[in-house]
Amino acid sequence: MKHLLSAGDLTADAALGILDTSDELKRTLLGREVKKLPTLRGRTVITCFYENSTRTRVSFEVAGKWMSADVINVSSSASSVSKGESLRDTALTLAAAGADCVIVRHPASGAAHRLAHWLSEAGISVVNAGDGMHEHPTQALLDAATLRERLGDLTGKRIAIVGDILHSRVARSNVLLLRTLGADVRLIAPPTLVPAGVEEWKVPVHHDLDAHLSDLDAVMLLRVQAERMHGGFFPSAREYSISYGLNEKRFAKLPEHAVVLHPGPMLRGMEIASAVADSPRTAITDQVRNGVHVRMAVLYHLLAGEEEKV
């Protein structure tokens, strides 16, 4: 059974296959009255969200529905999850309910791997829609799709990922995918927000954003979560903003063609100045739009392929 658990599982060919499919789907659906393809008719996709995330959940739901899958949403507040049912029992329930694909968002790193472990035997695909601080592979794919639209082939493109690398699943997936696609990735963050052992990621780590701005094709800003701001990782939101926020002055130093991405939700003023967020060179709304097509492509690649021989 096929799963998408980590961006690191994708070869360059597989990743480009998904991105090309996504582009094609986007063109196919452009301007159509009926945004509905029969591709996944009769397949059941269950989104299982143990964390709040309107953006990602809706994106997956629309993706599934546009491909005619039956999409069922399970959220932690609305199901027995909140009654303390174990993840494994929930998984077995979803299997018994006839799911073909489970899309899971969970606060525990590795939760998608565990689900895949329990569901593989039942022939159910698992898509990791964000697990703790581990990965968020479809976010990385939609970021890559957005960057490709603006920059073309990503080979050799200079991309900086800025902010809370330590706690970010978006950063982990992006580093893996962008490296696979041949981009020249660098991390820029305060030393307290970079994990020990980052050397194994084989990307340079810097602490000075200003020194890199003029040399970049894209800047990918990460969320700084509220709980981190009080966790002593940096002295104050003000100091973070002064050192790592993308203000207008820094934005002006970027090359004309450089793209700014943010996985949202944004902290305007701290991570990114409002004027920057609303600039046409900022691709944040494109990211959201591409999210649907990329997720359609992922579902297509996972569910439309060859069935296992019985």
Binding site: S109, G110, H113, E135, G197
Partner: protein, 443 residues
Amino acid sequence: MTLIRNVRPYGEGAPVDVRIEDGRIAEIGHSLTVPEGAEIIEGNGDVLLPGFVDLHTHLREPGREDTETIATGSAAAALGGYTAVFAMANTDPVADNAVIVEHVWRRGQEAGLVDVHPVGAVTVGLQGEKLAELGGMAGSAAGVRVFSDDGLCVHDPLIMRRALEYTKALGAVVAQHAEEPRLTVGAQAHEGAMAAKLGLTGWPAPAEESIIARDCLLAQHVGGRLHICHVSTAGSADVLRWAKNRTPDLAAKAGEAIISAEVCPHHLLLTDDRLADYDPVNKVNPPLRTESDAHALRRALADGTIDCVATDHAPHAVQDKDCEWSAARPGMLGLQTALSIVVETMVRPGLLDWRGVARVMSERPAQIAGLADHGRPLAAGKPANLVLVDADAEWTVRGAEFASIAANTPYEGMRLPGKVTTTILRGRVTAKDGVATEVKVSA
């Protein structure tokens, strides 16, 4: 009367026979005559060692009898070659008073397969705030001589100092779970490349090493006895080596080492590479570290920097292990695999001979805990607490076949060398050929 035929004490020399009488070794020699009516144990050239002593076992009774009881844990211990085990205090209720420790002691005696010595909690409820009634536990029928808040660190330096001082009067040792809590908030895996990749909060090595350094200094300062539980990092071995060499005069004055340390089999064999699939069977505290840590620990065990092997046998229910990583309880079964892993990591590579195995699995732990009748030389007149080991046998680990109620072994399916064939407690066979002697449980 029992006669063991054809065994090799410490794996050395030609096979001999051992006659046991009244729970003691009566005679060791070549081709001893078989006394009338004697029980014969065929040794088949097995290695004969003093019965193993485990300073670190979780038997879960009282509180979690669904995962292990003193009876099932005793059977697992006997099958693993143990004749004495120390049952950690983090039961429910906590073993922080004479009533609980006496209960554990008595249950162990009833089971009769292994001497179950309860470990008393250092602080009330393992809360780290107020010393438990250490004297009361020491003076109870259980005669507690090892105190530990294991599972939690006695992190307050003043409380630790007082514990090290106070236990001097009791002839007892404080066993420290070295984990600086502020450095390990939410920690899930060894802080390093694997945790970074998996997005698991790191458990940094200095959180262990700093507490070891602090407590070694405190123990030497007050002249109290300190034992470090489950040493897991290369840096910890360095700190221990430094501390032990620092005040040899002081140690000599005390008549025995002030500082001792144990290492767990899993830290000798397994590394955090195993975490890649997030199977919580590999979750343990302290966490699996790196290859270089494991090698440093093997060297430290070989050269005596680390005194002994202890299992940290920690049974857990399926639902506490077959779940997402962060929700899983830390710990793994160890009693029935410890010897094989010592053979694999220490004997086969030539780091320890069988005398060395006797030292790290029996003699040193017995000395540290002050047991007079375990870990004794194989000689006439000594207590017949013995284990026979088929050094050449290999076997495949199957958690479901273990005597423990729980089955959370990280070695499932592995082929391991060295097999305990017979365990003898005071002259009585407690386990033979993979079967523990019938437990006489009083309801």
